[in-house]
Assembly symmetry: C2
DNA sequence: TGCTGCCATATGTCCGGACAATCGGACGAC
DNA sequence: GTCGTCCGATTGTCCGGACATATGGCAGCA
């Protein structure tokens, strides 16, 4: 194979990670075509001067990503599909930016309030505890896209209105050293109330896409709860789901 | 610890899997409380008569599920959160059955047709190729919940109308030996057309939740494409998203 | 021809060990 | 008192090997 595989033992990057990145790049650029066998692990390990467990770890990470399939007695194949990325905790701001939509944000509310019952329950706090409360209008090309209402536990992050208008909430949390880990989401639809219609530039009774989400960090602590409403003509949710057997 | 941990070497079940199941059960029933340390891997391995790699494999599988967190230099902790299950490729039929809603299905169309452009593209077939086409109305307690329109590649499965009325499409595919692996989903909302409103028992212009999905098996082959519309008053999408770093 | 059983092949599981990187607290220097 | 350093603890990475098990093709037999 002329894949240019080879690891650098002087690098602090783990060997299995170097290999998995190279394999992923080879798949990405088409050097490993869908359906083709990867060659057996033993020989691959010998060729690269690595042990089999290390090679397996590299391959396993790509299997987890859905790029490869292992079959006992057969070999490891490249998946032939439109699988691009697995799913991620999507950030509306980043999604819009990636789509070249020039996102903008108008901060409508940014203060500390007693937590409403629903937010307190989601964040695991007592009802009436103080929480950060942020309401934002998200725009693209100057047009309203979504209305975002969020609650955060106190002391987690100090939210400057200026920062909130420059970037997304997730990016701010990550920048504050919070490692996001999982989220419970609920997506639905309903007719716009008069107030919602006014805010988003729709007619009353127009369909809206709604999302409720609680986000947790890597220790399982709830770090954010929010209810969002989207204009369905301007936004829809795109997922890539993976099943783990 | 009185966790009752111990493996059976006579069982064909892999040791790491036995251990991970026991740990998961211990977490589930509260014997391992959120935030508590799991005890170091070396000692745990010694106590169980296993090697450290085997114990690590068991722990890793629970980390992947989001039940445990590892911290170098600290130990492995139980996540303290409402994290129950990771996300799965949800089946509407099974979801309803699990919620005790007694799902029902009316098959409206079940035949072979030339593939519409969108379905052919999603399934990776030429436009106009023959495909299975199924249209169903999904009910709960006799009330319409969703309208499901699906296309499947030919020869994959023979779909009996009787079977379709008794269970869900995913269950039929799994029963035919197809291993579902991933799906691309798009969720949105729009106003009901007159025909849609009629089918679902809503008023024209009422908000509907829409889902478009292409499903792939473990080799990356597209095995299903469908467009669904849901009554938002009766159904919403619930997810548990996990981020892998 | 068609079925059966064997066998090479590849991944799956498991072991025991070694060293590195990181975390948190204890200790000592300033 | 505060800061930096050291050190024990724990996970992270990596090795080399062993045997188990599922797969698919081939040869032999009915």
């Amino acid at each position: 194979m002329a894949l240019g595989l080879g690891v650098d033992r002087g690098s602090p990057v783990p060997l299995y990670f170097q290999l998995s990145q190279q394999l992923e790049a080879a798949i990405e650029r088409g050097a490993l075509t869908p359906g083709s066998l990867l060659g057996n692990e033993i020989e691959l390990a010998a060729r690269l001067g690595l042990s089999r467990p290390t090679v397996r770890q590299a391959i396993q990470s790509l299997v987890d990503k859905g790029l490869l399939v292992r079959r006992r007695g057969v070999g490891t194949q490249v998946v032939h599909s439109q699988v691009k990325r697995p799913l991620e905790l999507s950030s509306l701001y980043d999604d819009l930016a990636a789509a070249g939509q020039r996102p903008g944000t108008t901060v409508l509310v940014n203060d500390v309030v007693p937590a409403p019952a629903e937010a307190a329950a989601a964040l695991g706090l007592g009802e009436g505890s103080e929480v950060h409360h942020v309401e934002r209008l998200r725009l693209a090309h100057g047009e309203p896209i979504a209305y975002l209402c969020n609650y955060l536990p106190p002391g987690l992050l100090d939210l400057g209105t200026r920062q909130l208008e420059a970037t997304g909430l997730y990016r701010l949390m990550r920048g504050a050293g919070i490692t996001l880990h999982s989220a419970r989401q609920s997506i639905g639809a309903r007719a716009a109330t008069a107030a919602e219609a006014e805010r988003l530039g729709e007619d009353p009774g127009a369909p809206l896409l709604t999302m409720r989400r609680a986000t947790y960090d890597d220790t399982g602590r709830a770090v954010e709860y929010g209810t969002h409403t989207y204009r369905p003509s301007r936004y829809s949710f795109e997922f890539q789901l993976l099943v783990r057997p």
